[in-house]
């Protein structure tokens, strides 16, 4: 006869490991965020006359 607590142990042992966030996962997610930021900026329409917010001056 299999006791309930033994059966529970069996289920846990057979269960796939919990997903851990690895360094590779983090890097992939960070690269996705870069793409996502880039896409969000690209969706925003800018007039040709809008210049970047820095002013180079030849002093």
């Amino acid at each position: 006869m299999v006791r309930r607590r033994d059966f529970a142990w069996f289920l846990m042992a057979a269960a796939p490991p919990a997903t851990a966030q690895t360094a590779a996962d983090d890097l992939a997610a960070a690269k996705e965020r870069v793409k996502s930021n880039s896409q969000e900026l690209n969706k925003f329409s800018l007039s040709i006359a809008t210049e970047p917010a820095f002013a180079f001056k030849a002093y």
Binding site: D26, A30, R33, E40, L41
Partner: protein
């Protein structure tokens, strides 16, 4: 234990009060510095607030100040009053580690400009304060993203003090320094100020020299004071602000804290977005902010509902910070030493920043032009904006900061963006902001930010001072702190 001359209450006095007692010879600068330095060394580590003590040097400086005071040579209200500095500011020939393992042995030969100015005013730096590694530029997941460990909140040490100026926030909150220097690229003064019940001022970009401070983002970094009151912030700002040819971003302007020159409340138009509060899930938090807005109404400020136009403010700010940081820390990232950082998400963010293109950066900087213009238009109809500094109480130490949920309602569609983007937009536009303690929810502090046009720091600080004349939230002390 404090000496007979310095009581436990001394550690909760403002700059003016401390200086008055020094001038009245209730105690000497040496006695005062010793008491504060010992307190910072003893209690600072409990909150991971102390990065590096400067007790020996401080005591030597204190003796010099005492000689000056004896000769009647007064320099102003900061003379003889100790302070702490975020460890991204260099202190000559002492460790300046930027909260990051790869920079553990780092020292610079000169003081950062802000520290040098305070030293010239007779202030005494007693310690470098803990911070999130590299000011969190890569995007960190956990509060433990620091060489000195997670900043612990004196109001509840199971919660975060906020960052990246973690040590500055907790040290002022726990009465370990009368005031501290912090910095903000995007949120790093206002967040710990809000979480720790400290009054923190983010100056207009270019007001305070960045010379000698670690750069995270050249066009977004600001150095500012974190104090026990708005008035104290004004006093510190008057010393640290000013032009500096060593800082290419310097505005070349001086600052005078002059509340007397600010018009009456009835002539200062306040912009706010009440619908932003309706989105908050936590009713106790909503009530604190609603009461704070009421307090401003009762002070006689005319209030007007406003909203920022929809723009990709956060995407622009994130892109600019990442691109500039990727250049600043290029060697760190390319060499692989970035892997020595404490936070995996931060490491990943810095590595991934190499994927941004020049077009991404330029696009973000063009959006920035429009963001600044949108705010200029907003400020035609109002003089200051009022918004929560943070919409939650301090997070728990174990919370993943990039995965916070359940804060805002999903079932409500707001009619406009309100001021929810002000944190990103305000930093993009280089606007001044003052975080003011305004109440408590679940035993933890909350704060409102007063934001205004560029170089209206005097207005913002004066409004804050007036608010604090009729409220005492900023005077509350964390229970359980000696």
């Amino acid at each position: 234990m404090p000496s007979k001359l310095i009581s436990a209450d001394t550690f909760w006095l403002t700059i003016r009060e401390l200086h008055a007692k020094l001038v009245a010879k209730e105690f000497s600068c040496e006695e005062l510095t010793k008491a504060w330095a010992e307190r910072l060394e003893k209690i600072g580590p409990k909150y991971n607030a102390l990065a590096h003590p400067l007790t020996k040097i401080a005591m030597k400086r204190a003796k010099e100040i005492d000689k000056e005071l004896k000769r009647g040579r007064t320099r102003g209200p900061l003379q003889g009053v100790p302070f702490g500095a975020k460890d991204l500011l260099s202190f000559a020939n002492e460790p300046t580690r930027w909260g990051a393992k790869p920079f553990e042995g780092q020292k610079f030969p000169d003081h950062a400009a802000a520290i040098a100015k305070l030293d010239k005013a007779g202030a005494v730096c007693i310690g470098k304060l803990g911070m999130v590694e590299l000011a969190g530029g890569g995007g960190y997941r956990y509060a433990a993203a620091s060489l000195t460990g997670p900043g612990l909140n004196p109001w509840d040490p199971a919660r975060w003090s906020g960052g990246s100026s973690s040590g500055s926030g907790s040290a002022v909150a726990a009465g370990l320094v009368p005031y501290a220097l912090g910095s903000e690229t995007w949120g790093s003064i206002l967040t710990p100020a809000a979480y720790c019940n400290v009054t923190g001022h983010r100056p207009t970009y270019g007001f305070v020299s960045r010379a000698g401070a670690m750069a995270l983002s050249w066009t977004l970094d600001k150095i500012g004071p974190m104090c026990r009151s708005a008035e104290d912030c004004g006093i510190v700002m008057q010393t640290i602000a000013g032009g500096d040819s060593n800082d290419p971003g310097s505005a070349g302007k001086s600052f005078y804290f002059a509340p007397v020159h600010v018009r009456p409340n009835a002539e200062i138009r306040v912009g706010f977005a009440p619908a932003d509060l309706d989105l908050l899930v936590d009713a106790d938090v909503r009530k604190v902010f609603a009461d704070a807005l009421d307090a401003f109404r009762q002070m006689g400020f005319p209030m007007k509902e406003v909203a920022l136009p929809a723009m990709p403010y956060s995407a622009a700010a994130s892109t600019i910070i990442a691109c500039e940081a990727s250049s600043i820390f290029e060697e760190l990232i390319a060499s692989g030493r970035v892997d020595q950082l404490a936070d995996q998400n931060q490491i990943a963010g810095l590595k991934a920043s190499f994927d941004y293109t020049a077009r991404d950066y330029l696009k973000a900087m063009r959006v920035r032009t429009l963001a600044a213009e949108a705010l200029r238009k907003l400020f035609v109809d109002v003089d200051i904006l009022l918004t929560p500094s943070r919409i939650t109480i301090a997070s728990k130490l174990t919370d993943a900061l990039d995965k916070m949920t359940g804060v805002t309602r999903e079932d409500v569609t707001p009619k406009d963006r309100g001021l929810r983007d002000l944190s990103a937009a305000g930093n993009l536009a280089g606007l001044p902001a003052l975080s003011l303690p305004c109440g408590f929810a679940h035993g933890m502090p909350l704060a409102m930010s007063v934001v205004s046009r560029p170089f209206q720091d005097n207005l913002v600080l004066t409004v804050g001072t007036r608010f604090q004349e009729r409220s005492d939230w900023h005077k509350r002390r964390p229970p359980g702190v000696e």
